[in-house]
């Protein structure tokens, strides 16, 4: 356990190191390990697209062991989209195959002189010319590389044309799964790295087979006993969230300007999408197999298949852009996968441009002759291609909405819906306050995956049932969600959908308190302890969550982020939702300040959102405290 493969593209050399035991103990794996390496090894102020940025692939200790829902990895780098710590989680086959090839972490350093791909076969690494594959879509790239290597069993993580062109909303694709957000595909493109192909057959050993297997069986039992897993995720996937967010009036519409007025359940909801499903796909070893392969069967996009689209992608190409035509969202999702683009940022960046067009801030002549009106699916699909290839107006949008506003000017920035440069995902958080506080404070920007408030969106009573419009108690809830997500999913790399369903938590009494929290994570803790041989306690695992989030925050503080970056877009503060079950809701700045003040207090941050020495040291991050102190960025004690 803990084998790190370092790939230096500049010198075309590799070396293998052992991950220090204290890093595994303190961060488990995944995002925690990625953040720890980023903080220690990427100098402050590093240009994210320079050779000094690192690109880290980090599964967790459960990946490849047969633990259900664990074939996931964090991909980490300084984000070229936000400038903050960029961590994106992806499932699929690649994470497990990395482990079978003998590596727990891959760190890519430097920059190749020319397009390159790296193949890894049973620990042997080769640098290969990617001249012929450069320019290909992601699915063709994977097929081409498998043929080039003469082995169809390689698993491949790669970029498409968007990453090659350094689009800051480019992603990394493996199979059809994406490390989607924060522009990590551009980091790969800047390194001239088209792909990493891995193949291995090693068994991933676990330290205590009995303890591990007992916990594994308990976890499978939790899946079976949780109605949302097989009745929900397996049957319809995450598309059910369309129905739910419409029902709550938080399905954001037309760049968040018309939420509540546009609730297209009949056209796009999970039951109608289910009719388009041709098969299901699972990540390695997952019995749930929630990913639905759907096909447009008629109209101009007939014959186009896509895996998913997950809720977020469905929303980005319908709610965000006002499109009701279901086949178009399948086509848009497929295009983004092929070009290697983040569906959420693409959808929201196009939505932003559509609002500017509707308001006559953008003219047709500036949009390559396109009438960029909400609801126009043909225009939407045209622009996706333009973004991927930086063609014409696509070049303006290819680095996300904030960069586009900078180029367009003319007051366009008032229509931005982003936090820390990351476009908001598909929940109108004016009607879900803890979910919104997570968008505000997540170290990656407006990121639903860092602390999903299932209590507000799905009425979950774990750990407490809440009123979604109230602000009281939401700081506590947001921190609980963020820390649990970091510990159980981002570091232990168990599936976030299963956490949201409640299926990896032991059934215990409700409450935010430590005792009930620790009781809830006994099964996961036992599985981690059995796999690693480290005698993790539930207390240890719970603290990993807080430690990881605090380290992410410290990384950002060091890069110049502060409290001013922890606010919702002006629209969400000042404009109430105009219709539907959340009508009248907004989150004015005074409410945001109340929640932020309490959240900072709970996290051990000062009023500027900076971690204090006391909290950093309590979390075992003394070196981080010393580092921030040396830059006069340490939080001042209250």
């Amino acid at each position: 356990m803990g084998r790190v493969l370092r790939i230096d593209l500049t010198s075309q050399t590799t070396r293998v190191e052992s991950l220090p035991l204290e890093i595994v103990r303190d961060f488990i794996g995944g995002a925690g390990v990625g953040l720890r390496l980023l903080y220690s090894e990427v100098p402050v102020g590093t240009d994210p697209l320079s050779p000094k940025n690192e690109l880290i692939f980090a599964p967790g200790p459960l990946t490849g062991t047969g633990a259900p829902g664990s074939s996931r990895m964090a991909v980490a780098a300084r984000s070229p989209l936000t400038g903050a710590a960029g961590v994106s989680l992806s499932g699929g086959q690649f994470p497990a195959e990395m482990k079978f090839a003998g590596f727990d972490v891959i760190v890519v350093e430097g920059k190749a002189d020319s397009p390159t791909y790296v193949s890894i076969l049973e620990e042997k690494v080769h640098f290969r010319d990617a001249g012929r594959v450069w320019g290909m879509s992601t699915l063709d790239s994977q097929a081409f590389i498998k043929e080039d290597l003469g082995d169809q069993n390689y698993r491949i993580a790669c970029i498409g044309p968007a990453g090659e062109r350094l689009s800051r909303i480019a992603c990394i694709i493996n199979e059809r799964r994406a490390a989607g957000r924060k522009g990590l595909g551009a980091v790969m493109g800047a390194k001239n790295l088209k792909a990493i192909a891995v193949r291995g057959s090693q068994k991933v050993e676990v330290a205590d087979q009995n303890r591990f297997q007992q916990a594994r069986r308990r976890l499978l039992g939790l899946f079976k006993a949780t109605p949302a897993v097989y009745d929900g995720l397996s049957r319809v996937g995450t598309a059910e969230c369309i129905d739910v967010t419409c029902e709550l009036g938080i399905f954001p519409a037309m760049n968040f300007a018309r939420t509540g007025e546009f609730a297209p359940v009949d056209d796009l909801g999970c039951e109608i999408q289910r009719k388009d499903t041709v098969r299901r796909v699972g990540c390695h070893g997952c019995p749930v197999a929630c990913s639905q392969v759907r096909m447009a069967s008629a109209g101009p996009y007939a014959g186009i298949l896509t895996e998913g689209p997950e809720f977020e992608s469905s929303w980005a190409f319908s709610g965000a852009t006002g499109v009701r035509y279901r086949p178009a969202l399948y086509a848009a999702d497929r295009l983004c996968d092929e070009y290697g683009l983040d569906t959420i940022s693409v959808g929201m960046t196009i939505a932003f441009a559509m609002e500017l067009f509707e308001r006559d801030i953008l003219g047709r002549d500036e949009c390559d002759g396109l009438a960029l009106r909400f609801g126009d699916h043909e225009a939407m699909l045209s622009v996706i291609r333009k973004i991927a290839f930086r063609e014409g107006f696509g070049d303006v949008l290819a680095d996300g909405s904030v960069a586009a506003a900078r180029r367009i000017g003319r007051g366009s920035d008032q229509y931005l819906v982003a936090i820390k440069g990351l476009e908001l995902p598909g929940y109108d958080v004016r009607g879900a306050k803890a979910h919104g506080l997570n968008y505000q404070t997540a170290y990656t920007g407006a990121d639903h995956n860092r602390g999903y408030a299932a209590q507000e969106v799905f009425g979950s009573p774990i750990p407490v049932a809440v009123d979604r419009f109230a602000i009281e108690g939401k700081a506590e809830l947001c921190k609980w969600n963020q820390d649990m997500k970091m510990a159980l999913c981002d570091c232990s790399t168990l599936c976030a959908f299963l956490l949201t369903a409640g299926a990896i938590l032991d059934p215990e009494a409700e409450g935010l308190g430590q005792e009930s929290t620790h009781a809830r994570i006994r099964t996961v803790t036992d599985m981690l302890a059995g796999a690693t041989g480290i005698d993790f306690s539930p207390e240890d695992v719970a603290r990993v969550g807080e430690r990881g989030n605090t380290l992410g925050r410290a990384f950002n503080i060091r890069e110049g982020f502060s409290r001013r970056d922890d606010y919702l877009p002006e629209r969400l503060a000042n404009e109430p939702i105009s219709a539907g079950p959340s009508k009248g809701q907004r989150t004015p700045q005074e409410d945001q300040d109340k929640m932020l003040n309490r959240y900072y207090e709970l996290c051990g941050y000062d009023q500027l959102g900076r971690p204090t020495r006391a909290r950093l040291e309590a979390l075992g991050l003394r070196d981080v405290a010393d580092d921030l102190d040396s830059m006069d960025l340490l939080g001042r004690s209250r």
Binding site: L222, A225, T226, P227, A228, D231, G232, R235, V236, E240, C241, D243, V244, E247, L248, G249, V265, D266, G269, C270, E271, R274, A454, V457, F458, G459, S460, P461, I462, A465, V466, D467, R468, T500, A501, G502, A503, L505, P507, A509, E510, G580, P581, S582
Partner: protein, 102 residues
Amino acid sequence: MVGGLRAHAPQREFGVKLPDDASLHCLVERLREQGGPPIYEWLGEPGTTDAPKRVLLLVNGHFVFPSGDPEAILKDGDVVSVMPVISGGQPGPWSDIAMAWG
């Protein structure tokens, strides 16, 4: 009927006649009587007195069951949504909360 429940319900939206001062609890009992087999699967069969275990109930977009008061009186024009459990783990915690039911 929301999400996956739409596949089981006779139609997405339908009206139910209720006596004055009827509660959500009363509505569920009426649905159990009138809904037919697809509804029984989710809400329970006619005559069942247990709280529903596989659904959430919302009134005008607010979660009212199991986290609220199912005895609250419904008003004319209220929209009641029946949503499958998508989050919340095993039925254990739900059962605890559902103690408030009748």
